[in-house]
């Protein structure tokens, strides 16, 4: 439930186009806010500006106009490495598929964000005392059998298991914002429901805000808010998004 406090994410009067690209793609967005603990469902197929919007929120893209605030910090005015640090400290990101580094064990994949963020590592150590214990807890909570899989290479896992490991990695160190980009599209229906449930449980437990993008509106049920990407932002030319 949305709690009355400063918004976790705030986008204002955004105008964006890819400067280095020759196409005339542009994205405009008037206003978007996400409250602490809020769960937002963004409905839209690929081609609706999804990647661009996520890039702006996560700080890999910078708008030509407008302001983007993350947890009260205007990241659109920060240097790229400062934006990278914001992302490392406050974001957990789950991709559609291939979320894991194939050359690390499952446990190391989950622990990886802690190597890039001191504050997340400190938060984990404060709460669980030990990063590995926290990774174990998360993996178990997300239904991954740590004893069986913990030290295996990720390529041995099923896609469903991989997505759960990816979720565990997104949640480690209690980031304030979880971004999930079609996290269930590679799963079958039964697994989708299970995954969504785990995602919600964990988000509620840590109080993280959640933005999930999907073209599958059936998944929108439990979200606090549902927005259609085409209503939220205007892109031109239409349906030529990256």
């Amino acid at each position: 439930m949305a709690i009355k406090s400063d918004p976790v994410i705030k986008l204002q009067n955004i105008a964006f186009s890819y400067e280095q690209r020759k196409d005339s793609f542009s994205l405009d967005l008037d206003h978007l806010e996400l409250a602490k603990g809020e769960k937002l469902f963004l409905a839209g197929a690929s081609g609706s500006g999804k990647s661009t919007l996520l890039g702006l929120i996560c700080g890999t893209l910078v708008p030509q106009k407008g302001e983007i605030h993350i947890l009260g910090t205007e990241i659109s005015a920060l240097s790229s490495s400062a934006r990278d640090r914001i992302r490392a400290d406050h974001f957990g990101i789950i991709f559609q598929m291939f979320n894991l580094l194939p050359y690390l064990s499952i446990l190391d994949n989950v622990l990886l964000p802690l190597s890039f963020s001191k504050s997340r590592k400190a938060a984990v150590e404060k709460k669980s005392g030990n990063s590995t214990a926290e990774a174990h807890r998360l993996l178990s909570a997300l239904g991954v059998d740590v004893k069986q899989f913990g030290h295996q290479k990720t390529s041995d896992l099923s896609v469903g298991q991989q997505q759960r490991v990816a979720a565990a990695r997104a949640f480690i160190g209690f980031p304030e914002i979880i971004i999930a980009d079609e996290p269930t599209s590679s799963l079958d229906e039964g697994r989708q429901a299970k995954f969504m449930q785990l995602l919600f449980e964990e988000a509620e437990k840590t109080g993280a805000s959640l933005i999930m993008v999907s073209h599958d509106n059936r998944l929108a049920k439990r979200f606090d808010r549902v927005l259609a990407l085409e209503d939220l932002c205007r892109i031109s030319p239409e349906a030529v998004a990256p």
Binding site: D84, A88, F98, F116
Partner: protein, 421 residues
């Protein structure tokens, strides 16, 4: 730290490609350092062929030519030098000792050198090392010979073996030999790795003796033939020799004596400083060594080129990995460093492996090599030159690694979080 761990894990994940790249780099390093070792070893061995001799005097000729025939027994003297001239030189106050040598004959492909018995006291090689007798003693009798280690080994001679000297320097004698006057091996020298090993030493008088009656240059016939007994009774003081080694009382006299000899009026003679002539000769041989060095450097760069290709080739399939790292909060610069570290690890491991293998090879083979070719490699820590080479190579490896790293950097900057496959 995390970047180093990731680089290591990533390399391990592609262990076969990594291993092949490392092997390619290691092989190129073995080649490069091997060439360098042989170069340094052969140069040192070469420069140490003769030491303790301050001047070499012979008939007027180029420095290199005189060095070639007097020390390496390669080629022939244009002319002889008379004993009178040598005696004039020997009387000079600078001279401590003078050893005449006489070349021209051979024994089954090995040069026969006439000299005085003091030769064995004065000839030095490799930082003033004296000749040692493996067996026997210096020649004493007119028909005694002292042979080098190679001669003894190749022809399976022992002290007491009889040898026949052929006229001229060819490997096959065309019937013109000195079979009427065979020599007995009196001593065998220990291996030196110098042309001494391939030389048959006899006395100057012996050279005269076997040539009695050969005045026209062809074998004596009929009444010109003299028996051993007749020859022994003759006055065999040589009138001419091929060259002479000279040792001085003090190095300071070397230039005054050299100019005395070079301006000697009665006979056209030349004196050379062995060191100077060696340097001249080496500069001729040096072209080949430079070519060898350039080729091995090119092999090293080919190995790095292979490394760059393999990393660049893996780049596309690793864009996913780069997007994941960016999502976790890695800066594009950290992605760049990841690739540079991977290339550096490959280069360092390749260089270390190559250097290690080369040293093992040297350790195992150098005694054999020295015995067989006289090439003294020696097991020493890498010299300054080698360390400089290795550092340059390491730097080139890292620079080579920067090429794919720049590409990875720009890809991860433009891809951001989107995974393009």
């Amino acid at each position: 730290m995390i970047i180093a761990r990731l680089a290591w894990a990533s390399l391990m994940n592609r262990w076969l490609t990594s291993l092949l790249t490392i092997i390619a780099i290691a092989l190129s390093i073995i080649l490069l350092l091997g060439v360098e070792k042989v170069r340094v070893g052969s140069k040192a061995g070469f420069l140490n062929t003769i030491s303790g001799t301050d001047l070499i005097v012979g008939a007027r000729a180029g420095d290199v030519q005189l060095l070639l025939y007097s020390v390496f027994r390669i080629g022939n003297a244009t002319n002889n030098i008379s004993m009178e001239t040598l005696r004039d030189i020997e009387r000079r106050p600078e001279v401590k000792w003078l050893v005449p040598i006489s070349l021209g004959d051979s024994h089954r492909g090995f040069r026969v050198m006439g000299t005085s018995s003091t030769y064995f006291d004065h000839y030095r090689y490799r930082r003033n090392t004296m000749l040692k007798f493996e067996q026997g003693k210096p020649f004493d009798d007119l028909f005694e010979a002292v042979i080098g280690a190679d001669v003894a080994e190749r022809l399976n001679y022992r002290v007491g073996s009889k040898i026949v000297v052929a006229h001229g320097a060819g490997k096959i004698s065309f019937g013109a030999d000195h079979s009427d006057k065979p020599f007995v091996v009196a001593g065998i020298l220990a291996a030196t790795g110098t042309p001494v090993d391939r030389t048959v030493h006899v006395s100057l008088e012996a050279i005269e003796a076997i040539h009695v009656g050969w005045d026209g240059g062809s074998a004596p016939r009929g009444d010109q033939i003299r028996s051993e007994e007749e020859v022994r009774a003759m006055q065999l003081e040589p009138k001419v020799v091929t060259a002479a080694y000279i040792g001085l009382k003090s190095k300071i006299g070397v230039f005054s004596l050299q100019s005395f000899i070079n301006q000697y009026k009665q006979e056209p003679v030349t004196a050379i400083l062995p060191g100077v002539a060696f340097a001249q000769l080496w500069s001729l041989v040096g072209t080949a060594e430079t070519a060898l060095m350039v080729i091995s450097l090119m092999v090293v760069f080919t190995a790095f080129f292979g490394m760059v290709i393999s990393i660049l080739g893996s780049l596309n399939e690793r864009r996913r990995e780069m997007a994941i790292l960016r999502a976790i909060g890695a800066r594009p610069f950290q992605v760049f460093i990841l690739f540079v570290v991977e290339a550096t690890v490959l280069a360092v491991v390749g260089i270390a492996l190559g250097t290690g293998i080369l040293y093992v090879i040297v350790l195992v083979t150098w005694p054999i090599l020295e015995q067989a070719t006289g090439l003294y490699l020696g097991l020493s820590w890498p010299g300054t030159q080698e360390i400089i080479y290795l550092l340059i190579i390491l730097a080139s490896g890292i620079i080579a690694g920067i090429i794919p790293a720049i590409r990875a950097y720009s890809l991860s900057l433009s891809d951001g979080l989107s995974i393009r496959l």
